[in-house]
């Protein structure tokens, strides 16, 4: 397994956000992590990204345990979150040079040029990021996340705030990443977009994975029903 999570518990003060959660992702899988607001999607992704420390449980990514081997995990991880994690006062190229140095890449300039071509921003490489549209920033954020060619990629609602054209362009980049055999976990509220990209769907509700199925098992047009049933039955249990 590329990602293995067992009995994960996360608390914020008195509130328990993740309740003994189990979650596994095989190498090369593209998992759509679905769930209502406050279900624990972002918290789970932040723990996987080593940005948040769990209260209990075991987390292993690419064979390395968190938080003990966090540096090894981070080297193999690319993260795209709500915010692009880019500096507006640097150019697109400078942002990639900066992150390339942070990841100790040897050929930063060559790799940055490759990535800028991948996300379709090479012609804008010398422009300040603050002049970019939301869609361009998100594409550059993906470029930043794939710069060190990570084995595992985490996307936290990457389509948020994008118009239809920008979403379509983002989907093309995501498909290319998946085609390269990278393991991907993506959270989203947009079921239609996840349905096109993911090979497996996990539904999280009230801090637990309450349903899981592959695209074949669920069927191409049944994702919405699958999701609603999973959330409804989870809420009914409480």
């Amino acid at each position: 397994m590329m990602i293995s999570v067992r009995n994960l518990v996360k608390r914020f003060g008195p509130k328990t956000v993740l309740h003994r959660l189990d979650f596994e992702v095989g190498a090369g899988d593209f998992v759509g992590l679905l769930g209502p607001n406050g279900a624990g999607k972002t918290t789970l992704l932040r723990i996987l990204a080593s940005l948040s420390r769990p209260a209990a449980g075991r987390v292993q990514i690419a064979g390395y345990r968190l938080p003990a081997q966090a540096a090894q995990v981070r080297r193999r991880l690319g993260v795209v979150s709500h915010q692009p994690l880019l500096y507006g006062d640097l150019t697109a190229e400078e942002n990639l040079f900066f992150y390339g140095r942070m990841y100790a890449l040897e050929e930063v300039k060559t790799r940055a040029a490759e990535v800028l071509h991948l996300v379709g921003l090479y012609s804008r490489r010398s422009d300040l990021v603050r002049t970019f549209s939301r869609g361009m920033r998100q594409r550059l954020a993906i470029g930043r996340a794939v710069l060190h060619d990570p084995e595992v990629m985490l996307f936290d609602e990457p389509h948020t705030g994008l118009d239809q054209d920008a979403c379509a362009m983002l989907d093309t980049v995501l498909s290319e990443i998946a085609a390269r055999g990278r393991t991907v976990v993506m959270t989203s509220h947009d079921l239609a977009r996840v349905a096109d990209l993911a090979t497996r769907f996990d539904v999280i509700s009230r801090g637990k994975i309450v349903a899981s199925g592959t695209r074949q098992e669920i069927g191409p047009d049944n994702l919405l029903r699958f999701y609603r049933q999973a959330v409804k039955s989870a809420e009914g249990e409480v």
Binding site: A49, A71, Q83, M102, A104, E106, R144
Partner: protein, 227 residues
């Protein structure tokens, strides 16, 4: 690439990024500088100093100016990382997190030195005091180092809460009191040409403070940024 080389490269990248971004926006330096110049101007007019008073309170005014301007810079430097979500970007990098601390601290120190380099001649003219003495410059260097060492760590803690603008001075000033007292005393000593033997205890205190707080920050920074 060796781990140490990667560490230095990441540290250098953070310093370069802060300087390059500031060179374009001039957001942080301009606010620090305007604030510092306003403080020395207000003191100049408010106190209507005679020569005797000038000799005794010059060091105090100088360090009040540096401390307030420095706090402003420390706050904004970390707040800009947090507000743009870039702090997560730094924390995701596979380097020891102390590299982030040292990178940010060196950037903050450079900004503080730039403000000091501009403030010193203005202060010298307004107060008719020669501040360009090697001993005094050494005190300014050591004092700024200590202030930034503890300030960068506390700014990282304070930036996590909404009341960060108030919280940082509340946390920082009590902890920075030894460095401020030692800096004022040592600066006063050099300005009044007191024998070096009498100034040395204050200089030693500054050196020890710098070493201790840099070491503490190195050890605890990982826990400070942990969620």
């Amino acid at each position: 690439m060796s781990r140490f080389k990667a560490y230095l490269r990441a540290l250098g990248a953070i310093v370069w990024k802060d300087l390059a971004a500031e060179l374009r926006s001039r957001e942080l330096l301009s606010s620090m500088l305007v604030f510092a110049l306003l403080v020395i101007l207000i003191f100049n007019f408010a106190l209507e100093l005679d020569i005797k008073a000038r000799d005794t309170i010059t060091a105090g005014i100088l360090w009040v100016t540096f401390a307030f301007a420095g706090t402003l810079g420390l706050n904004r430097s970390m707040a800009s990382e947090k507000d743009r979500g870039c702090l997560d970007g730094l924390l995701l990098a596979p380097v020891d997190r102390s590299a982030i601390y040292f990178g940010k601290a060196i950037g903050n120190l450079v900004f503080m030195f730039i403000v000091e380099i501009i403030v010193l001649p203005v202060y010298s003219v307004l107060y008719n005091v020669n501040l360009f003495q090697p001993g005094l410059l050494l005190v300014i260097f050591l004092g700024s180092l200590g202030y930034v060492a503890v300030g960068t760590l506390l700014a990282t803690m304070a930036v996590q809460v909404r009341t960060r603008d108030i919280l940082l001075p509340i946390l920082l000033f009590p902890l920075a009191l030894p460095v401020l007292i030692a800096s004022v005393k040592a600066s006063n000593g050099f300005l009044q040409a007191i024998p070096l033997a009498e100034i040395m205890p204050w200089l030693n205190l500054l050196i020890v403070y710098d070493i201790i707080f840099t070491a503490i920050a190195f050890m605890v920074f990982d826990y400070v940024v942990e969620e």
